[in-house]
Every structure is written in C-alpha cells, then in structure tokens.
Subunit: 393 residues, 2 copies
C-alpha cells in the first residue's frame, strides 16, 4: 500500500491485514469464541451449558445486565419483558404496508420497521442518556423484535397480528405470536435452546457494525438497523434454510451418497458444513443435533444420516481437510419441527442476536471512542489538473 | 489487553489503538484528506477546485464513474439522473406516515424511508450483481434521496410533494423540491458548491460503516441505512445549524467579544471551530466563506465578524493552540440564505454524502473481503461454573 494517510500527531499509520483479520479492535466483557477449542461463552459461562440449563430470560439477563439472575429476579425480568411486547400504534398501523412489499423479504422489512420503531419510541443519542436508560431501551427493543417480525409475517399472509400473551416466556411467546396458538412445550423449549445459542458469537460483522455506529453517538436504533443490514449479507448471516434445502434435494437416504459426492467433486459448497472460526465441531451444532433428535422426528434422523454421509464423502474426497457440521445444519431441522416457516429462519436468528447486538451497543457507549480507521489512497496522485478548457456544464 | 482472541492459523493478533486510530483498514481510489496541508481531493482532483468550476453532475460522475465527463456525457448523465427523480408509489404513499412521527427527525425518517425504498426497488446483495448494475442502483438511490428528504419535510409541514422538474440539475432541483418554485440561480449555485464540497471526505465513520456492511455482501440499501445512522451520531455528523445558533445567540456585533470570551473561558466548545483532521484552515470553510459573502448578505458579514472575533479570543485565551474555522461555520449561512430550513441542514449533508457512500459501496464490492476484526475478551475468565443449584426458571 502506498500513500497511507497519516494522522497528524500520530505515529506512522499501521497497515492492517485485509478485512482487519487478526486485528483486535475493541475490548469486550460480553463473551468470546475459542475456535480451536470448539468453545464459546457468554460472560465466562459456557454458552451450550447455558442453553441446556437456562431459560431465554436468564441468559438474556446475563448478557444485558452482566449477571445471572436469581429466581426472584428472573420472575421479575420475565414479567417486565413480557409487558414490553406491545407495539406503538404508529408502528402496528404501518406493518401491513411494510409487509406488502413484494417479494416479501422479512429481514429487510424488519430493518425498516425497527428504524421506524426507534423513531416512534424516541430513542436518544446513546451518549446523551444514562447507561441505565440505554439498557432499558435495549431491553424494550429486544422484546419488540419478535412482535415486529411475526406481525410482518402474519400481515404478509393476510392475517391479523396476534396479541402477545404476557404469561409466556420469550421463546414460547415467539411461537405464539406466529400461530396464535399456545405452543407445544417441547417445541418452545427446543426453539429456546436455539435462541440462546445464537444470542451472541464473539465479534462478528454485524456486532462490529453496531459498535461502529454506536461509536458516533447515534441512537440504539441506528446501530441495530445497521446490524440487521449487515446480517442480511450472504457472507455473514448464514441461512439455516439452505441446509434444509439440501435435505429436500436429497430426498431419501439411498440418494445421499451420490448427491453429496457429486456436489463435493464438482467443487460446490456443502451448505451446513464448515465455519470460518471453528476448526472442530461447532459447539452449537452438537447441541442442536441433540435437540433435533428429540423433537425433529424422521427429518432429524434423516439429517443425521446425511451428516454422517457428508462427513464420509468429505473424508474420502478431501482427506486431511477438517470440515465440520456448522450451526446451520440442525438449526433448520429444529426450527422446522417447531413450525417456524423457512423464510423466518434468518429473522429468528436476528431476533435472538438482538440481545448480543444491544449488549454490544451498551458496552460501546459505556467506554466510547469514535471508531474511525484510515484508508490508503491508491488512485491517481493528486493534485491532478483539470483537463484543459474544462468548464462548468 | 489480555486474552486476545487468536484466529486459528493466523499469527499473533495485532492489538490496534483505540478507535482503530491510525490503522489503515482499506485501500481506496475515491479520494483522500491531507489534514496538515488543508487539502482534500476526489480521485486526485482538488475538491475545492471542483466545487468552484464544476456542476454537481460533473463531480458526481467523477466520483461514481471514476472519470470527469465531457460535455456530451455530462448532458446525458444530467438527463439520466433527472429522470430518476420519481419515487415508487409504495414509498410515496408512506412518506406522510413516516413524517408524522413526532418530534420530526428528518435523518431518522430518511433512514426508514431509504430502507423501505431499497426493498421496494428490489436491491440485490451486492456480490450477486454485476458492478454495472450496482452502479446503476447507486445512482438511482442518490437521485432519490433529495426527493425522499423534501417529500418528508413537506409532508411534515402538511404540504403535498412537489413533482421534480427534469429540466433542473441536482442542486437547483434540490431547492425546487423544497419550495415548489423555480429556484434563484445564485442560490442554486451556492448550494451546489456546498453539496460538491461535502460529497466525500476520506474515511469517516459513516463511510466505514457502509463498507463494513457491504463487506458482508448485503445490498446497497442496508449499507446506506447504516451510513445514515452513523451520520446521525453527534460525534460524526456535525451540525451546521449549531454554528448558526451561535450567531443568533450573539445577535449583534457589540456582543460578540464578551459572548465568545465567556464561552471559551468557561471551557465550552465553540461550535464551528476545530476539526479532528485539519490543523490549518478547513479548505471547505475557505470556499464557503466566499460563497456566503456572495449570497448571504448581512448575516454573512456578521458571521465573518464573529469568526474574526472568535479567532482573536482563541488566540488570546489559548495562545499556541491551532484552532480554525471548520465546514460547519459558513455552511449554515450558505444554506440559510438559500432558504433551506435549519432542520434540513444535516439531511442536506446526507444527501450529497450519499454520492461518497455509494461510491465506497461500489468500491468495496469490487474488491470485497469481509471486514471482521477481533475483540479482546476482558471479562471473568471462562469456563465459569454456574452457581451451585442454579436451575431453569
């Protein structure tokens, strides 16, 4: 790189590796991913252990408030957050309009609706309000995201929104807002585990986006809207529906080997396998396999067969290459068996990830510094004279 | 920093300075700022020279297409972009609803409306489309931003939107969309210079946001919405209206010295002075002073008097500290004299900066790599055991 811009007073600019790979851009106490160990945690607690043992509210409280709540506090937090599941009328009124855009893209619709909601509830610039108030906003918006999402989905189906049932926890409520029916307990618990497992995952591109926007002092809504946008990128969000699509294409056990063999031989990517960070089993997929086998019936057993076959094929055609099942593979089976429609898989991920994003926003605001790297100018060298006779027109 | 996350296979993590200060995060051919020299450029051409000599369309074409257009191409580009100033009906219909949120925050309303517009016109993930198509989307959205902004403003005033006049260039059209009247030529040219001067400015936080979101492969709308959010942050956007407010508070020449002396003595920030990068005259303020004195009448002369007095006071109370007039100071006078209401000053900045943002999005997409730095985990060390007897509730 040439012509690196130099900040006055600072030393020589540091030229970072492409994509800021390997560059530590912030400190965090929210959690971390240890890719080599196949381990990730929230505030020091093993995230898969939390998913096995805790409710959504317990882990949400841990991430946003910093501590695991005791039973009294959990009850209180559950009631508080359940009460927040009411959309302002100005937002509720516009959801059908936003949902009427064709083709229906729920993540884009969520981006628009969250932007609107932030204005309607009057979010203020993060540095202009006490940490306490920012955390309240974070919790309120996190509680509203499922209401927005399911309101959009139902509106697009031509259905009225379902009023939230304040007796239900986040996960059960998530399903009830979709169908209007009291959800099956096993399904709600399966989805709850998925939601807990996806609340946060180290410093990914959407979390980083939320922090960059927050660093300008903008409001929580601006940061969230940016994060939702980043999540919608194919290189970030993943798509649990793609892995399910692979299962559909295979259709039956007898076709698995040939299908997968051909895919891998022709150099196509196998959906649901491989991750940028984990070089061993993705701890999320290990737990989600269990959950899927508990609630996913024949589809889950078929998925397990396909997984085994895929690993054999990969071992055969790419020996020595470590490639493991990622979070997408069983997530789709779990959500499908709980009745979540495929187009709502990534939005469901956005819903739980809102907990991680909002925690990152609060953390950034509490130790803020504008995030503003440099670019190296590599174009034609200035000052470049205007072409002779160049005139206004 | 401790516990820096390490990317498998990569070397030791690089711990960046806070805020990534001094870290070169990308290469660009769009432009650069040389703070010590008081100089910034677009693709190598002195930006103030471009503002003096060129039309908005000429510089827009330079930034987004990479080359200054000849007169024929300019005419063509002007016609092409003028034709794009029509909002899709689904967006036009909802602008009054979006504008009805109180208090009216035009930048937040723009964020919502651009998000909606992106869905309605069906923007695709940036990596799924040819560079050509992405550039067309960039130009279309840039042409629509003034229509959206003025539609929102007029709706909030209870006024019908003004149909765009395809005979007008961007700057004149900007004013015509506001008032419905054919604009005064001198005002249009003054605003045009301001708009050209603010199209781009190196790697600021909103441009960086747009690039981070783009790097996930998301659509141009997601990246723009994130950039608008970042611009709304008080640490980024600046606010030309604040400098004007200072002028109002001073009211008359005889009160300038005392007012400014007291402000500086009490340690308050003087709005319109100082910039993170320029340690000499901000080249934008030099040109805008000229423009203001041409079109701003008594208010401009008063502003010049206040500027002189402020520099004297700063010299007197903070000798040796280099503090110069920044872009905010005369920008407000220029926009005010052209009839742009104060609450639309920062949105006007967003409108011209959309050119720079969209160019950055196209550039990022053309040489993409996911931007994904690391965070150093500094919380309680894992694995942390759950409290004894901790149970689901």
């Amino acid at each position: 790189m040439t012509n690196a811009t130099q900040l006055p007073g600072a030393g020589q600019p540091i030229v970072a590796p492409p994509g800021l790979e390997g560059v530590v851009a912030a400190e965090t106490s929210i959690g971390d991913v240890r890719g080599e160990e196949g381990f990730f945690h929230y505030r020091g607690y093993n995230a898969t252990e939390l998913a096995r043992l805790c409710s959504f509210e317990q882990v949400w409280h841990l991430i946003i408030e910093g501590e695991l709540p005791d039973p009294d506090r959990t009850r209180e937090f559950r009631q508080e957050t359940a009460r927040l599941r009411t959309l302002p009328e100005q937002v509720a009124k516009l959801l059908p309009e936003i949902a009427s855009v064709e083709p229906f893209a729920p993540l884009e619709a969520l981006r628009t609706a969250v932007s609107l909601t932030a204005s309607v509830i009057g979010l203020k610039p993060v540095l202009d309000i006490p940490a306490e108030e920012l955390r309240s906003q974070a919790i309120r918006v996190s509680a509203l995201v499922p209401v927005i999402l399911m309101g959009l989905y139902r509106a697009h189906q031509g259905l009225e929104p379902v009023p939230a049932d304040p007796e239900l926890g986040y996960a059960a409520s998530y399903l009830q807002l979709l169908t209007g029916e009291p959800p099956n307990e096993a399904h709600a618990r399966a989805v709850e585990k998925y939601l807990i497992l996806t609340m946060d995952h180290g410093f990914n591109a959407s979390t980083f986006t939320a922090r960059v926007i927050t660093s300008t002092g903008a409001d929580l809504g601006s940061a969230l809207v940016g994060a939702i946008g980043a999540l919608s990128g194919p290189l970030h969000g993943g798509a649990p529906s793609r892995a399910l699509q692979t299962l559909d294409e295979i259709g039956e056990r007898s076709r698995a080997y040939d299908y997968l063999h051909q895919k891998v031989e022709s150099g196509e990517r196998l959906m649901g396998f491989g991750h940028r960070i984990y070089k061993t089993d993705d701890p999320r997929s290990v737990l989600l396999r269990e959950v899927a086998l508990e609630t996913g019936g024949e589809q889950a057993r078929f998925a397990e067969y396909v997984e085994q076959t895929a690993l054999e094929v990969l071992h055969e055609l790419k020996p020595g290459r470590r490639l493991y099942t990622n979070v997408e593979f069983y997530a789709g089976v779990v959500m499908n068996s709980a009745g979540i429609p495929r187009e709502m898989f990534t939005p469901t991920f956005a819903s739980s990830r809102t907990v991680g994003w909002t925690a990152a926003i609060c953390e950034q605001a509490s130790h803020n510094r504008l995030i503003r790297p440099l670019a190296a100018y590599v174009g034609p060298p200035p000052p470049r004279p205007l072409p002779e006779g160049y005139a206004y027109c």
